[in-house]
Every structure is written in C-alpha cells, then in structure tokens.
C-alpha cells in the first residue's frame, strides 16, 4: 500500500486543514475485467491517452494506462447511443483502462456508463479523454452501484469546440472510495458543459469529487451541481473550480454543492473555487449543508408516513431533478440504487 495524493486543488490554500488534496491508500491494480460495449460500430481498440492527461493522480493515470485503450469515434453528422458496462464479477477483481471519445461535427452521442458488480474490494481505475467538435452534443450518464469496498476512479478530461454541448450526469451509489476527477476546457465560442452528480453515502464511504472547468472561449457556459446525503461515518469532499480565463467575455458559470447530513459522524468538506481573469463574466457559487427540514418531515408524518419514509421522500425530491437529467433508461435503476444505498446504513 502506498499513500497517494489525489484531486489536488488547482489553487492551493492553507495546509493545516489538510484539504488541498486527499491522501489515499493505493496498492495498484491487476487488470482482469473487460468493458462490454452495447455496439461496436464506432469502437476500436488501440492508441493511447494524450501525454498531457493529468487525472486525479499520476499513479492513477498510470494504473489506468496499464490497461487497454479503446477509441470511440463518432464521425461527423451521426446521431447514436452507446453503453459501456464495467462489471466486476467474482474473480475479476479490477478493471484498468483508458478511453478516447470523439464526437464529430454536428454529431450526437448518448453515452451510458454502468459500473457495477458483486465483487468485494475490487477497483475500477478509468481515464477518459472526450473531445466534442463544432456543434456536437455529448450526453453522458454514469451509474456506479454495488461494488462494496471498491476503489472507483473516474478520471476525465473534456475539450469542447465551438457550440459543442456536453452534459455529464453521474449517480455515485456504489464503491467505498469514489474518486471523480473531471477537467473541462470550454475552448470554442458558445460551448456549454454541465456536471451533475448525486450520491448517497453511508458506512465509511468516501466521495472525493473534483471538477475544474476552464472558460476559454467567449460566451461559454458551465454548470456544476452536486447533491447528496451523508450517513454514518461517510465523508464527502467537493473541490469545484470555475476558472474564467482572460478573454472569455460573456461567459457564465455556476456551481452548487448541497449536502444533507443524516449522521453526527459524517464529514462534509466543500471547496468551491471561483478564479477570474475576465470582467465580463458571471460566476456564482452556492452551497448549503444541513439536516432535513423538520417542518417538511413533520408535514409528511402528519399524512401518515413514517419518519424514515418521510426522510426518503425529502432526499428523493432533492436528488430527483439531477436524476432526471440522466438517460431515461437508467432513471428507475438509479432510484432503486439510491434506496439501496440508503438501506446500506449501518445499524446503530
């Protein structure tokens, strides 16, 4: 086991709070699992990630790169859907691999990732580079579930050209150490990137969420919205950065981080950064942390719901708008996984 530093803030702050980065035990991975693609039309094997790919940590990028590299190339003017399943069944402890996803001019890709499996203590270490050409649309729905005790690292870098739209909607409902590292470069004029995530962490689960979206082109838009519930000893670290580069006039970005704390032992850390080198922009951040609104719980209980049912309803109503952003084929599964995750609460 080595100690590695992941998700380091793009601009450092005080050291005594130990929040500039997360220190993680990491033993390296064996690569056994293979990705299952729903359709191989645009998928090929071979190639590699660009050298400039940063990821959550050098060690995690190297581990991912030790596995196979797949290319998903959607040619210009094509509208298609694809799902990729990373399944860790018994005996296939780990998945390591890298992906390059390219969406051509005016194309649309609806991509679904499902990270799943019963294997306990496995690892999924993935790194993916996404590039969306002029006017292209990329919608990515990610469901991570089950995989007890697993280390899950989703590292991605997105480049958006003129008018490109990219929408990531994640449901982080499995694993033990969940790492998201998303960097986005909104290079083309009027490009638009959204990152949403829901989580429901309990036990000793740790969600470590890093987003760094750079506004480079003019009139670009970004949106980060993370919502979730923390129970037991769960911990969440949110490091979100909206980075307005010089010359990105007319751009807008907002980020939000909302956590409901269900247990006195849960830890909730939030570092929402706004970096700005351009005056003609609008950047907003809002975050809140707290308990469920007792007034609402009381109202629902007066209508006959148990406290637990009422809590579920309030949590679901908070997460629902983000779940609705995911591919419709996943939404029921996600709701089920949310409930399953909330059930996983330690018996007190």
């Amino acid at each position: 086991m080595d100690k590695i530093k992941v998700n380091t803030l793009p601009r450092l702050t005080y050291r005594y709070t130990h929040t500039n980065e997360t220190v993680l035990d990491f033993a390296g991975s064996r690569n056994k699992a293979e990705p299952e693609f729903s359709d191989m039309t645009y998928v090929s094997e071979g190639g590699s990630l660009p050298d400039s790919f940063k990821g959550a940590a050098e060690e995690l990028v190297q581990t991912a790169a030790a596995g196979k590299h797949f290319q998903i190339n959607i040619p210009d003017g094509v509208k298609t859907a694809l799902s990729v399943r990373l399944n860790l069944e018994h005996g296939t402890e780990d998945f390591c691999g890298t992906f390059s996803v390219s969406v051509g001019q005016g194309s649309e890709l609806n991509l679904i990732w499902i990270w799943d499996g019963k294997e306990a203590g496995g690892q999924i270490i993935s790194a993916a580079c996404y590039e969306v050409q002029d006017g292209g649309k990329l919608k990515v729905s990610i469901l991570e579930r089950n995989l007890p005790g697993a280390v899950l690292a989703d590292q991605r870098h997105v480049i958006l050209h003129e008018g490109a739209v990219c929408d990531f909607a994640s449901a982080l409902l499995g694993g033990e150490k969940v790492i998201v590292h998303s960097t986005g470069r909104l290079e083309g004029r009027k490009s638009d990137m959204t990152e949403t995530a829901v989580y429901a962490a309990s036990g000793t689960q740790h969600e470590d969420l890093f987003y760094h979206l750079e506004h480079v082109g003019k009139e670009t838009k970004s949106h980060i919205d993370v919502k979730g519930a923390l129970d037991d000893h769960a911990k969440k670290v949110f490091r979100g950065t909206l980075d307005f580069k010089h010359g990105c006039s007319g751009s807008q970005g907002d980020e939000g981080d909302y956590a409901i704390q269900l247990s006195p032992k849960a830890r909730n850390i939030s570092l929402p950064l706004l970096l700005c080198r351009e005056d003609d922009v609008m950047g907003n951040h809002a975050s809140s942390a707290g308990q469920l609104d007792e007034q609402i719980i009381y109202y629902l209980m007066s209508r006959g719901f148990s406290r637990e049912e009422a809590q579920r309803m309030v949590i679901e109503s908070m997460l629902r708008p983000l779940i609705d952003r995911m591919d419709s084929s996943l939404q029921d599964e996600v709701l089920e996984a949310v409930n399953h995750a909330l059930d996983a609460k330690e018996s007190l």
Binding site: H285, A286, G290
Partner: protein, 470 residues
C-alpha cells in the same frame, strides 16, 4: 457625496499627506537581518523581563525552521536580510501631545489625529515607527479600571495580566511570519476591560511606518472580561517608499463570557508594503466578536482574522472589503473555528479589483464535531472593474457534525450594464455611475465604520475613478 466633504477634518486630507516623509533622526537602529544578537539587543534595549527574551529566542528558532506557505502570494522581493527590524525615533514616551517633537507632531496633525481626539475619542495610542510615542487615555476610563497602554509598558507594569495571555492564542508556530513577529515584536497596544465595564467610546490606535526598510511588528492584546464590551479601532497609513516594507503584527483578542468586542480596521498602507498580519480572537460562552475590516493599501496583503468560537452560544460576525488596484495583490478573508454549541457565524466579504489588481478571498469555516446547533451564513461578492484584473475566491468549508445549518454564496462579475445605464439616464457620467455603484457595493462595510473612516473609505474609492464626483 459633496455634503460629506465638510463632515470631518479627516476627509479633507488629500492623498499627498499620506506620502509625506519626515526627516527623522534615529536614536537607535539595529543591524539589518535577523540574528540572535539582534533579538538580544532588542530585548536588552527594552529592559524586558527574562521570560520575554526567552519567548523571543524560541520564536526565532521556530522562524528559522518554518517554510513560507506555498499558497501565499509572491513575496520573493522581500529580503529579510535587508529589513531593519527595529527603528526607534528619538523621543521617549510622552503623556501630552504638545510635548512631541515638532516634525512628528506635524505628520500626525496632517493625519488629523488631534482632531479625531477632540471629537471625544476615548484614547489615542499613536505608534511612530516601532515605538509608541504618544499615549493618552481619558480619565473616566482609568476610573472604570480600563487599561489602555502601549505594549512595552504593559509587559513591565501589568505582567500579571499580560503573561498568561501573550502568545497563547497566536503561537509562534502558527506560521513563519507569526514566529518572526514574536522574535522581534515592538510596540503595540494593550487593552484590559474589567468585568461588566462598558466602554462607550471607541478606543483608537494609529500605526504609522516611517523610515525606509523598516519593519513593524506591533503586538496588540485585548482582554474583555465577562459581560464587558469594547470597540477598538485600528487605523493604518504609511508614506510611500521604494524599499520593500514589511508589516507582521499580531493581534490577540480574548472575549470572555457574555462579552462583546468590536474590532474595526481600515488599512491603507503604502503601495510597497508587505502586510503579513495575523489576528485571532477566542470567544467565550455567549460572547460576541465583531470584525470590520477594510483593506485598501499595501503591495501584498495576507490577512485572515481568525475567530475561535469556544463557548456555547458565542457568535462571530465578519464584514470585510478589499480594494485591489494596480500593482496590488490583496489576499484576505476570514477563518472561523466553531467548537461551542449553538454558535452563529456571519461572514460578509466583498472585493473589488481594478487596474490589474488581484483580490483573493480565502477562508476557512470549520464546524467541529461537538459544535451542534451551529448556524452560518457566508456571502462573498467579487467585483471586477476591468479585464486586466484578477479575482479569486477560495473558501474551505469543513463540517463535522449534522446538527448544523450553513449556507455559502459567492458571486463574481462586473457591474451590470443595466445599472450603469439607469444611473446615466439620471445624468451621471459613466465614471460617476461606476463610482456610485462601487460605493453602494462597499456601503455595508462603510456603514459599520465610524464616520470619519467611512468618509475616508469613500474618498479612497473615488480616487480610483478619475473625475468622479465626491
């Protein structure tokens, strides 16, 4: 506004007064650079008790061990080997204003200090270079048992009050510049407000750095005993010099059970100052700590008043504004650590950057595992006045229990075009409209300041907009 021009003498001071250098002859000057010998010299010259010398030497050791924090703004131009750590003007403690040397008095006259005092201020402790040269406290405060003296006097005369507190809240190992401070501290103020005493007039202190290359390391220690309250105003202004100047003061505030302390600062160091100042307060049960802070001057500033809410039901309110103009990097913010139950935290921070200036808001709000019932509202607004400037917001929020209610909001952007147009439709020029909107932006802070400071702050804002109406 035009009518404010006549409101106070201080407002009539124009910028050039802040830039006047005096011909000062020094009675004593330490070698540049920092060695154990210098520390011993400083201590001997002050005829300090042995425990203080020990503290200094211990701090020097820590200073040499600590690195410069990697997140800090660039201070590479700062060469500690060439900074005079101790400069003492040729005058001893004076009880009366009239007895001060004429050139020093002149400078203070131009800064409006006697006028300020005439306006029934409670007491004036004006620091000239590193020594307190003038001190006055009104009789009624003395009768109430309030102590307000320069720090050297406090160390000797009130050792029993100073020693148990000094260096316990901000320790030398807090960071490198805190260690430096404890090694070389000189001057500053000591305030003691006994139990139940209400000081109904603000206590004011003016600091002033003179002498090229001089550092200023004043120590401020305020103890507000149970149920007492006090308002302390710290004002800084310094003339412009070419040699880098360093300010590494320390402010330790002890707010006891049920006590209230309001600490206001308007900081306007000259544009070559490295202002690496440290302030920290600890608040007892039901106590209130209120910070009001305006940062306008200096080349580089690092200032994050830190509040430890130790007692149950204690509260902290921070209102701050930072205006970073050309050549300035002002890295400011606030820290709050809540440990008591049912604490309340209110942070309202605003920054303005202009002309290539860099404003950074940096903060920590830490709600400890046993700080149940904590409530907090953090608001942080950054205004960019042009596209050469920079503005960063770096908050760090750590929550370790579930019985809390905390909201944080931050916005960044420029003055909306619609607002400028609306004001222009009422006859204001574009510059006037911007100046008025910026003053409006700063209003929540200026209304917290005493009138003459609020006026001074508005003047500082207006100076940034050429041709703007007063």
């Amino acid at each position: 506004m035009a009518d404010t021009k006549k409101r106070s003498e201080v407002s009539d001071i124009n910028r050039s007064i802040y830039d006047i250098k005096d011909e000062v002859s020094y009675s004593y000057k330490a070698d540049t650079g920092l060695t154990e010998e210098i520390i011993r010299e400083i201590s001997a010259k002050k005829e300090e008790p042995e425990w203080m010398l020990k503290k200094r030497l211990q701090a020097l050791k820590i200073y040499n061990e600590l690195d410069i924090p990697p997140w800090m703004p660039d201070i590479s131009e700062l060469d500690m080997g060439h900074i005079d750590t101790y400069v003492r003007p040729k005058t001893d403690m004076k009880a009366r204003w009239e007895d001060l040397p004429e050139n020093i008095r002149d400078t203070f006259d131009r800064l409006g200090i006697p006028e300020a005092e005439k306006k029934s201020l409670a007491g004036v402790g004006a620091q000239y270079d590193s020594e307190v040269v003038y001190h006055n406290i009104q009789k009624e405060l003395e009768e109430q048992g309030v102590i307000y003296v320069d720090f050297e006097t406090a160390v000797k005369k009130y050792e029993h009050l100073v020693r148990p507190y000094f260096g316990t809240l901000i320790t030398p190992s807090y960071h490198k510049f805190a260690a430096l401070h404890y090694a070389v501290w000189s001057g500053g103020s000591f305030v003691y407000v006994p139990k139940g005493v209400h000081v109904n007039m603000p206590l004011q202190s003016y600091f002033r750095l003179n002498a090229p290359g001089a550092g200023q390391f004043e120590h401020t220690l305020i103890i507000v005993e149970e149920g007492a309250d006090c308002h302390f105003i710290e004002g800084c202004s310094a003339p412009r010099y070419n040699v880098a100047n360093l300010h590494a003061g320390a402010v330790e505030l002890f707010v006891k059970k049920g006590a209230t302390l309001r600490y206001s600062t308007i900081e306007n160091w000259s544009k070559n100052m490295y202002n690496l100042n440290t302030k920290k307060a600890v608040v007892g049960e039901g106590g209130h700590m209120i910070w009001v802070s305006g940062s306008f001057g200096s080349h580089v500033s690092c200032l994050y008043p830190d509040t430890v809410l130790r007692g149950d039901n204690s509260t902290c309110e921070f209102t701050g504004i930072t205006f970073a103009g050309k050549g300035q990097c002002l890295d400011t913010g606030a820290k709050v650590e809540a440990y008591g139950k049912n604490t309340s935290i209110n942070i309202n921070s605003k920054s303005i950057s202009k002309g290539g200036g860099e404003a950074v808001y940096r903060s920590v709000v830490h709600i400890g595992p046993h700080a149940e019932g904590a409530k907090g509202a953090i608001s942080c607004e950054s205004l960019m006045l042009d596209d050469e400037s920079r503005s960063d917001t770096i908050p760090d929020i750590i929550i370790e229990n579930d019985d809390i209610d905390l909201g944080h909001e931050a916005t960044i952007g420029r003055i909306p075009d619609e607002d400028i147009y609306y004001l222009m439709s009422r006859g204001l020029s574009e510059e006037d409209a911007k100046a008025m909107l910026v003053r409006g932006f700063a209003e929540p802070i200026s209304k917290e300041l005493p009138l003459e400071y609020a006026v001074e702050m508005n003047r500082l804002i207006n100076l940034e907009f050429e041709g703007a109406i007063g």
